[in-house]
């Protein structure tokens, strides 16, 4: 088995060929990026507005929970039946659009819910202080609420990306490409090394992307929010004052 796997991946054409791992990886990334991009553009602004105003929180929770439980394959096939007849000819769009819709619907809930949660969770005293010093609504949102909500937003985006990368394999069911191709083709032709290669590639891709986003997170989220404090300045003390009397004019006799 190991030997079969080894001999499969040591063929250059399996990597770089027109239907090789790299080509499938490229397609996989493309489908995922389109879906995650659309989700970010939809869910983050909506989440910020809902979180900031507090209006529509219940609706967001409902939508998020409903979408999370979507049966991805069933929905995909339903959408293909519904949409692809609208596109005559052999254009890729008739399959790409249903796939994208499914992936977007799957990735919106975690981004949206986390963005709303992140903004709602901002210390009310900090929000109050921001308004109290004369910040306008959008200043409060962008100068205080958004920076403080970033850790939760990032964790929403990370789980969305993981889910999209894993689910994008279903594109292969409807004759699109992606790493799912290796798995489905491998299964039908009983080339198990191909199946394993496809599955491992999906897992590795998910891990690599997660690490990448974690790095971005590290450099965009304030240390004050993430709690990764530097050691500098750790020795500061409250400035001692000679006249720290307990009462205005009576001082405890002390040596």
């Amino acid at each position: 088995m190991i030997n079969d796997l080894w001999s499969y991946i040591s063929v250059a054409d399996h990597w770089w060929g027109p239907n090789g791992i790299m080509a499938r990886l490229d397609e996989h990334l493309r489908y995922s990026a389109i879906a995650v991009g659309i989700s970010l553009v939809l869910a983050i602004p909506l989440g910020l507005v809902v979180g900031h105003t507090g209006r529509g929180t219940a609706v967001v929770t409902f939508i998020a929970n409903a979408f999370r439980a979507l049966p991805a394959v069933g929905l995909l096939i339903f959408l293909v039946v519904l949409i692809s007849p609208q596109f005559t000819g052999r254009s890729e769009a008739r399959y790409l659009i249903p796939t994208t819709i499914v992936l977007v619907l799957l990735s919106i809930p975690s981004i949206l819910a986390n963005t709303v949660e992140g903004v709602r969770n901002v210390d009310p005293e900090a929000r109050d202080a921001a308004r109290g010093m004369g910040m306008t609504g959008s200043q409060v949102l962008f100068k205080v609420e958004l920076p403080c909500a970033l850790p939760l937003i990032f964790s929403g985006v990370r789980s969305a990306v993981l889910q999209v990368i894993a689910t994008a394999t279903i594109a292969a069911y409807i004759s699109l490409g992606g790493l799912g191709r290796l798995i489905i083709d491998g299964l039908s032709s009983r080339e198990y090394p191909k199946v394993i290669t496809g599955a491992v590639a999906v897992a590795v891709l998910a891990i690599v992307l997660d690490v990448l986003i974690a790095l971005i997170q590290r450099y965009t989220v304030s240390r004050g929010v993430s709690g990764r404090f530097s050691r500098k300045g750790a020795t500061a003390t409250t400035a001692p004052r000679k006249d720290d009397a307990i009462e205005a004019d009576a001082e405890v006799l002390a040596v």
Binding site: D123, D128, A129, G132, M133, G134, V225, G227, G233, E247
Partner: protein
Amino acid sequence: MIKFESVTKRYPDGTVAVNGLDLVAPSGQITVLVGPSGCGKTTSLRMINRMIEPTSGRIWLDETDTGTVSTSKLRRGIGYVIQHAGLFPHRTIVDNVATVPLMLGVDKKTARAQAMDLLVRVGLDPAFAKRYPAQLSGGQQQRVGVARALAADPPVMLMDEPFSAVDPVVRAQLHEEFLRLQQDLGKTIVLVTHDIDEAVKLGDQIAVLRVGGTLAQLATPADLLARPADDFVAGFVGRDRGYRSLGFADAGDLPTRKEVTVRLGSDFAAAAALAEDGWVLAIGDAGEPLGWLDASHPGTGPIGPQHLHRGGTVATEGGSLRAALDAALSAPSGRGVLVREDNTLLGTVTASEVVARIEERAAAERIEAAR
């Protein structure tokens, strides 16, 4: 000057938090709003910067009706300190303090330099500047909150229980720093507390509110303690007000006596021989009183700090009768220690001498009142 003109706040659920409030907070002074929980202190304060809109009535800021200016413009001219400081967790301490100047368009370098100065002013080590709020204690955060509110140098400051989240020792320290700062800055301050002692200590005038949001009494601290307007105020001002009002009574020239003193490091037996009623006062090199030496205790060799009784308080010349009486009552020798401004020993005074002074003063006041 801040002026409330029959201001009423009725919340949507029907709660009347403030009812027909008329009040003037004079410029350059500290006005303290005090009263039991739920009496409308926070509501009154937040109506000044329109964090809460009054249901009826008007609030004037000098010549301006606050209802006629935009809220952000109004608030940028008013420093606001809230209970737990409400610092921005994602910004360093120095950037927290510089927030308003930066918003007003001051360049970053100037704003930061000013912020550093302010941190020092409120008693924080500049080494804190690069830290984040989560790395500071509650008391330190409150100092930063005060510094942040002062940053744009607003003429008016609103403070809602700014010293509540800290222990009594730190609070007393913050009080001192606050009063010293106000002496320099002369801001128009409205401060909310439910602690009458804090009100008496900090206020130039005190407004006592009762539940339902009406004004029970507006008076100076001394007046409030001496002449509560009614049972409610009397009950709220609390026990010991006779004693506490002595805090506002000038001690004047007390009949001090000279005290035989010994120096730290001199021989114990020789020092004990000088004791009067079993106690002798030890002083330091600069003539400052250090503590009482118990001559009845057996001891030999040089006097060390460990031999000294430390329970007594010291009163400063020209201070209050309360401090003088407290010094006398707390001294193990029964002789209260008085010092000069420079902390050198002036002499001692007994409780009965202070009480005699208190009675003279009260008698004089009665004669004054009878006229």
